[in-house]
Amino acid sequence: MKFPGPKHKIITEAAQTFTFTRRTMVLGAIQGGIGALLAARMAWISIAENEKYTLLSESNRVNLTLIPPRRGWIIDRNGRPLANNRTDFRVDLIPQRVVDADATVKHLAQLLSLESDEVDRIREELDKSAGFRPVQVADKLTYDQYAAVSVRLPDLPGVAPSQGFSRHYPAGSTVGHLLGYVGAATAEEYKERKNPLLITPGFKVGKDGLERAFDEHLTGEPGAKRVEVTARGKIVRELTTRPDTPGHPIKLTIDAGLQEYAGRRLATQSGSVVVIDCTNGDVLAMASMPSFDPNSFSDGISQLEWAMLSQDDHVPLRNKTLQGLYPPGSTVKPMVALALLEAGIGPQETVGCAGALRVGNTLFHCHKRRGHGAVNMRTAIAQSCDIYFYQMAQRIGMDRIAAMARRCGMGQRFDLPFPSQSYGTVPDPAWKLKKYDQKWQVYDTVNATIGQGYMLINPLQMAVMAARLATGKQLMPNFLHGAKRPAPSSVGASEEHLAIIRDAMSAVVNGGGTGGAARMAIPDVLIAGKTGTAQVRRITMAERAGGVRRDASLAFKLRDHALFQGFAPFDNPRYAVGCIIEHGGHMIRNEDAPMIASDTLSYLFDPKKAMEKLETLEKGWGGTPTERQARQMGAFRLARAIEKGEVPPPVADNASNAAEAGNSATPQPAPPTPDEAGDVPPPPGSNVADVP
């Protein structure tokens, strides 16, 4: 209107009103369109995608927690539990609900008397925690502790006492290597099996031993609990619960009492005992000591305890019965004698023992330096004369001995439910050629006949050998009660020959032989057996010239292994035993292989008497294995603290006493006096030869 021009429209009030009306209508249309769009969007989400979002909403709302299944029991041949489930009282902290973390932890530490390293762990986990994931304060609490926390709940916000199940091994460390232990599944196991149960808190899988071998059988079906939870993880209410189905039990051939007895009877030594039923090969006890306590392993072992176990020279972490390989020493002599009989050598043929024998250009010694004089087979076994076997073995050759050794179970691999086994070696010319590409030499035969050189055996195999010598049958070791197996084939020896061997083995113990310490205190039950000593070091000519050093003066790792294999009663064998004491050196009579084996067998005939003897002995050893281990742990903890400078070293000898008492509880053995030496037969084969 003011600036009318050809390029400009003429704008009037009316035209502007018209424009306004038109544009308002456009605006209204846009608003209506957006409204329709929103309605359509809403319809899309709530109708077309309703199913998807309903599912998401439910998965938000409902939290499915698995209830770990109770593990099947492991019971012994009489139904006594070797591993069961204990009602577990435990206390957790829900970090989100804790008001004053410091005071709460302090209060709990006092209530439950927690160690300071535990308190540190709880504090650390509280700091790292995601809010609603519980932090474990303690488990395996007694009912009193549980109740003590429960009644104080109003003053302890965020503390959650609860009840569950945990694996319990009543016999503690004595079944450690037999049963293994359980523990939380590793990340690798979860990746492999993808089972959500594996990452459920409180669920444990078998980690070693029978627990691992029968893991699937022992694992039950998990239960499930559906709960409604808020976004912060707070449980609003329980919806449904399906209880768990416990796993199947397994019944072992083990005798729980004997197993525990054997473990305790091994005293402070590093060794193992295996007992086999001569009627069918059932393994009644298989103890390897010292051992970890599977109870503490199953809770998650503390770093301190692990450090202590792995530093111990008695190797508590190795299952010696199946993974320990030792030269069998003189314990092979009855087997070699059986081979001699089979080869036609008469039991009355004698060999003159002068204390040494030259083979090639090496001088082989008998353990008795002055020599045994004229010895026949019975005397040679009873006195463990090495010269007799050197001579006789050369006559029949190694192949026949090796064949008999294999029939007696040496070098045989048994199909056992254990994840890892080492099985020994029976050397023969073919084996040596293959392994070393060397020809078999006469001195190899000589060494093998006294169980040295290349020959190796594990304690289970030794017990099997004892059982096969006792029965003449190729018994197979077995752990599952009532397992069906074929009747054992024969060892291939005549009953007459077996009687000769059994009689000679009885003479070892009861006839003034080297195993007098194994004599049983049970009337009418005579034990037969064979002692053995396995060297772990070379004896040099120089040393021999100056007198062979006694084991007591040697470092632990250099001492000889002490072995014993046998059975009882000698004339009608019922039970066979194998026992190996690592670096035992025959130093302490009541902690030596013969007496340990014999006492263990005596438990089967008169448990009460055997137990009385053990309890008396244990007083001298510083208590049961559990007590000794607890003491060792205490000393170790103290030593660590001193090392770190947290605790001042106690003045003078108090500390060293404490450390020593705890460290091994090994009473320092006094060198045997000459009188005692007369009673203890000299270790057979201990100074045999310059082993090549």
Binding site: Q31, N60, R61, E228
Partner: protein, 370 residues
């Protein structure tokens, strides 16, 4: 003429009834969001609604000239308040949206939403009719809008800034500026967005991408949108039932009583409730635009349409955000979301539109004043 007395027929019954219905529905949803309790939200909201309705009715009695006269002074004072907020925030070293007056917290950017409409409308009302296609018709309006827009944007409050811009531009559009200006800048903007996007920082790009696909980060930045969609989607057609919404009651839905109140509602009332609510808002906008179209006064009609659109932006941005069509910006849903300032602003808008409506009916009914 009628047997009903004049003041009663003039009373805006219909729009009040509509607002009352929406607000009552909102109160009901807040009752449920509090877990079936009138505390802490439902009572507060109801009381506020009554107070602000009374305020709106008082506003509706004020002559239009007063609004016109006070448009620029009000704009200036809110702008000063915005500067103050920025200054205080700068001193305290953080984002600042409030001025503490001692007895209450004042959020000036909230008032800028209706005031920008008044100010821009006032500018165009005073502009000579013929100047509407000249440069002089554009730059003062752009300055009027741009200054508060940038002040709010750097707070930073993207939602409010967008609403100020949208309110101002709407009035410019209605004032009759050449259409090609809007089409042209619209196209330019569309071209610039992808380029601007490539200049953004990684984390900023990520934020935009998450808005596009909230499920890609369901626990992080996409959590709000994901949970809101779950709430709406799981409601289905008829909803889970009053007080039965698990998303809101178990705290999965964040801000279920404020910005995401629509999701809380939709979970329990389903699509039926949602469509009803959207329909009710549409009726409100129709009323507002009709008032604008009936008005001959340039200032008044621009204000009526502009304020209606301001309310519309509240609703549209909030619903788009809740349904995953827009990024999460803190824009509440009028009458439904718990909170005083937004209801105050919306009721200010409604009151002014009612005042315009009232002046119209008096103008169209000359018998009244003679």
């Amino acid at each position: 003429m009628s047997i009903i007395p004049q003041p009663l027929t003039q009373f805006p019954w219909r729009v009040l009834a509509l607002l009352l219905a929406i607000a009552m529905f909102g109160t009901l949803v807040l009752y449920s969001a509090a877990g079936g309790s009138i505390f802490p939200w439902a009572t507060n909201q109801a009381v506020r609604f009554c107070v602000f309705s009374a305020m709106a009715l008082v506003l509706s009695r004020i002559p239009l000239e007063t609004f016109a006269r006070f448009a620029f002074p009000a704009y200036a004072s809110v702008l000063i308040a915005l500067f103050l907020v920025e200054l205080i925030g700068g001193v305290r070293g953080g984002s600042q949206r409030w001025i503490n007056l001692g007895f209450m917290q004042l959020q000036p950017s909230e008032f800028m939403k209706p005031i920008i409409v008044l100010a821009v409308a006032r500018f165009y009302a005073r502009l000579p009719v013929g100047d509407i296609r000249s440069w002089n018709a554009i730059w003062p309006a752009l300055v009027l809008i741009g200054v508060p827009w940038s002040l709010v944007l750097i707070q930073p409050d993207l939602g409010t800034a967008t609403m100020i811009l949208a309110g101002g531009v709407t009035v410019m559009f209605l004032a009759g500026l050449p259409l090609r200006l809007f089409i042209g800048s619209g196209l330019t903007l569309a071209a610039i967005v992808p380029i601007a996007f490539s200049f953004l920082h990684d984390y900023q790009q990520k934020r935009v991408l998450i808005f596009m696909d909230p499920e890609s980060d369901p626990l992080g930045a996409g959590y709000h949108i994901s949970q809101s969609k779950i709430a709406i989607g799981s409601g289905g057609i008829w909803g889970k039932g009053f007080l039965q919404g698990s998303q809101s009651h178990l705290d999965y839905l964040p801000e279920g009583h404020t910005d995401f109140v629509f999701a809380t509602m939709a979970e329990e009332w389903g699509m039926a409730g949602g469509i009803l609510l959207i329909g009710a808002f549409m009726l409100l906008f129709r009323w507002g635009l009709r008032v604008a179209m009936r008005t001959s006064d340039r200032f008044a009609r621009l204000v009526a349409a502009g304020l209606t659109t301001t309310i519309f932006f509240y609703v549209a941005i909030n619903l788009m955000m809740v349904m995953g069509l827009a990024p999460v910006v803190g824009i509440p849903l009028p009458f439904m979301s718990y909170g005083g300032s937004s209801m105050l602003t919306v009721m200010l808008c409604v009151g002014i539109i009612m005042a315009i409506d009232r002046s119209n009916s008096r103008a169209s009914n000359p018998g009244n004043w003679g």
